[in-house]
Symmetry: C2
Subunit: 149 residues, 2 copies
């Protein structure tokens, strides 16, 4: 699979989340040879569960794996610290990111620690989050831990 | 509540996990005035879910919160990068840790980023993990992303 084909899986997850009334961030975990191990999307709204970011949902969907070093985490948006920590702890080898214009998490930190980070500048991903944040600023801030002052 | 009383809640969660055949790590999220918001334990084995570390399970149990700055995450063991990332992203103000002898995660990094970190040296927590790791090395390595070489 090409990077864009892998991103498409994450993007479709984000679209599912949006259609459900949720925060439109999607992710997918692939093996080195392009087999989809699991995919998911942010479910804060849908399940009232703040622990389910897109990447953690995809990680959960992939079930127990013994070795993540050759896997690729694909996400529509730069992974927050929570999801970056997941990648680092489990030694996920590569991260493919749709965009980091609307939010920048810990992907530079991951690159410093040896993760193969690829940052795309996917216009659909940017547009999806730009629109969502403009329409739902409080919900977005809740999802990234930004409190009202 | 005193730190030891708060740790007791996390320790009892870890004991529950052990009784279920799981990895004995427990956690609890408290408000500044000592109200228990949520508690949980590692459920990798019980639910086949690698995303449920003790801290993320407690965070999930606390449900959606608008502001974590005054909350305290109590955990029997030094939080791994995944759980440290959770604390940083959501601006959880304080972390109280039972021990870091059997595993050291990202608590120094959290302290550098302004989190109020208290590290105890609780003998019961140390003994519980020491025994568990000795008896289940492969399972423990799986939980912290250490692959067979």
């Amino acid at each position: 699979m090409t990077p864009l084909e892998m991103l498409e899986v994450a993007y479709e997850e984000a679209r599912k989340g949006l259609a459900e009334g949720g925060i439109p961030i999607g992710a997918a975990l692939f093996s080195a040879d392009g087999v989809l191990l699991g995919s998911g999307h942010n479910r804060r709204v849908q399940q009232g569960d703040p622990s389910l970011h897109a990447e953690t949902d995809a990680f959960r969907a992939a079930g127990r794996q013994r070795d993540y070093r050759s896997t690729i985490m694909v996400t529509t948006l730069s992974p927050c610290w929570y999801c970056s920590g997941l990648v680092r702890q489990f030694n996920i080898g590569a991260v493919l990111i749709g965009e980091s214009k609307t939010f920048t998490g810990g992907h530079d930190w991951l690159a410093e620690h040896g993760v193969d980070v690829t940052l795309l500048d996917d216009e659909r991903c940017v547009a999806m989050m730009t629109d969502f944040i403009a329409e739902n600023p409080a919900l977005w801030n809740e999802d990234i831990g930004v409190a009202d002052t």
